[in-house]
């Protein structure tokens, strides 16, 4: 798809996703404020709202961070990934509301500019019990803003997928800052130790899923024993590939998806041109390899998107010999 700014195209599934997302966030806020008002009738409304917004954003960030590794471990989670960016933007808006209300509540109407007050009221960085936590939240919010602002496909194309993905890996830094923000703020003034235990459980789930998915991916990246013939590398058994599907093999240092389409083998890069999704986990639809992440399509023989789209992925020469698929590690050049 070409590099120009266009509004998000709405499909039925995106609408369903967004309705569920909006009602989920609103339901969480409503339930939190109601539960707070019932269990602590003496609490002020602003306090409950600030807590509800902060907790909602933090819980949503956990969900967002779990979707990626869950999809690597089980493809059935992919519908949650399809529109994850909308959840990211919703999370940023919720966190921003928490930040703005907190600045109004704790720093405004005083003898100092609220932003100066935010940065200067607590400078006890050498103390564990008094450590400034609000600045950690501000830093995380700036990262989340950068990510929400560049979440549209326009930025993905402009920055190129690898750069964009690296930029969006900053969400890990934002998560780390927010764990510290919560640990040095809310958890240190909580009456019980249970909120800290729960935060630890959240961290265990998020980190555990990422480590499990990372190890799973690394195993799949072990290089094949180099059996070559005429410069071709033995990649896989041809009969093991189901029709319309692919087997992924390490050719050199990169993953190649070997598809069987109408009984013949085709090898293209496993890396989708859109968001670097795993093409080899997709299937052919209408004669085109279709990415499991966002449905981007490429022709199996040339690696080019069907017109009018102009995306392409590297395609490789391949042939079947004594039951094996042999792939040439040098991509084919297609001009035009």
């Amino acid at each position: 798809m070409s590099v120009q700014y266009q509004a998000i195209t709405w499909s039925r599934q995106k609408k369903v996703y967004d309705v569920l997302l909006a009602s989920g966030a609103a339901g969480f806020l409503g339930l939190f404020v109601a539960a707070g008002a019932v269990t602590h009738p003496e609490a002020t409304a602003e306090t409950l709202l600030i807590r509800a917004l902060g907790t909602c954003a933090f819980v949503m960030l956990h969900l967002i961070l779990c979707i990626g590794p869950l999809c690597r471990l089980d493809k059935r989670f992919l519908p949650l990934l399809y529109n994850r960016r909308h959840m990211g933007v919703t999370m940023f808006l919720t966190a921003a509301a928490h930040g703005v209300f907190s600045i109004i509540q704790f720093h405004s109407s005083g003898d100092e500019n609220p932003l100066v007050s935010l940065l200067s009221s607590n400078t006890r960085v050498n103390s564990l019990s008094a450590f400034p936590f609000q600045q950690l939240g501000l830093l995380a919010l700036l990262i989340l803003f950068l990510m929400a602002a560049t979440s549209h496909d326009f930025w993905l194309h402009t920055l190129t997928p690898p750069v964009w993905k690296r930029l969006h890996m900053l969400v890990y830094a934002a998560y780390g800052l927010l764990v510290a923000h919560v640990a040095f703020g809310a958890l240190q003034s909580a009456a019980s130790v249970w909120p800290a235990v729960l935060t630890g459980a959240g961290l265990t789930i998020v980190a555990g899923l990422h480590l499990a998915a990372g190890i799973h991916e690394r195993r799949r990246d072990s290089p094949l024993p180099a059996r070559t013939h005429d410069g071709f590398v033995a990649a896989c058994e041809f009969d093991a590939i189901p029709e319309g599907r692919a087997t992924v093999a390490m050719i050199g240092a990169e993953r190649v998806a070997i598809f069987k389409h109408e009984g013949k083998p085709y090898a293209i890069s496993n890396v989708c041109a859109h968001q670097n999704g795993p093409l080899g986990e997709g299937r052919t639809i209408d004669g085109c390899v279709t990415c499991p992440w966002h449905g981007y399509q490429f022709r199996p023989d040339t690696g080019m998107s069907p017109p009018p789209f102009q995306d392409r992925v590297p395609a490789y020469r391949c042939r079947v010999d004594s039951g094996k698929v042999w792939v040439h590690p040098q991509p084919v050049r297609h001009d035009g």
Partner: protein, 232 residues
Amino acid sequence: MTDEFYVGYVPRQTAAQARFTRTAVTVAALLAAGLAWTLAAWRAPFDNSRFEFGVYRDYTGTLAAHPVPSLLAEGQRILLVAEGKHGANSLAARFDQRNVGIRGALIEHDGIRMLEILPSIEPLGGPVVAPREQDLGSVTLTGEIADSKCHLGVMNPGRGKVHRDCAVRCLSGGVPATFLARDETGARRILLLTGARPPLDHVAEPVTITGRLTRWDQLTTLRAESIEPVRE
């Protein structure tokens, strides 16, 4: 391998995929609902304080600017602060030891009353009532410094780590300080901290104060001679 395959722009998911997605979303929603309720219920502590936000009433009595702005009305000493994170020191200084009429919104906690006053103070005639003061001796106490306005009810919780920056801003703006301490039975008492401005670097954390306790009408003040942070 099944032929299940999800494409986001296709209007409907296959039946098996739709079932899985529904289950995943339901589990996430139930988990989120449980967390919302549990965390809202856990997140304490709250004080039994109140603030009549936006409800202004008329009060008359003798105003005292020192040691902190207050109004002696019907035998009760009521503390005075300005709007926002500001003390009423400059306003009160113009009416020290005079009878006045004041409009203010009530803040109350543990029998200590405070007014967030409007800037229009009306001078009145009549005999000025003198304060009843009694020296209670010297003490050394460990407890927490907060700003009186939030602590007495404008915010709840109006003390503790999360509220720390707000307390710094209020104290810096001239709002009088409170000192919260427990006796050997664990009973809490709010003392009005007077004397030099408290160290802003050590609010909302345990500090040991040595000073003189004074009964000031129905309030108890602690005039600090030394304030030492408790080591971590």
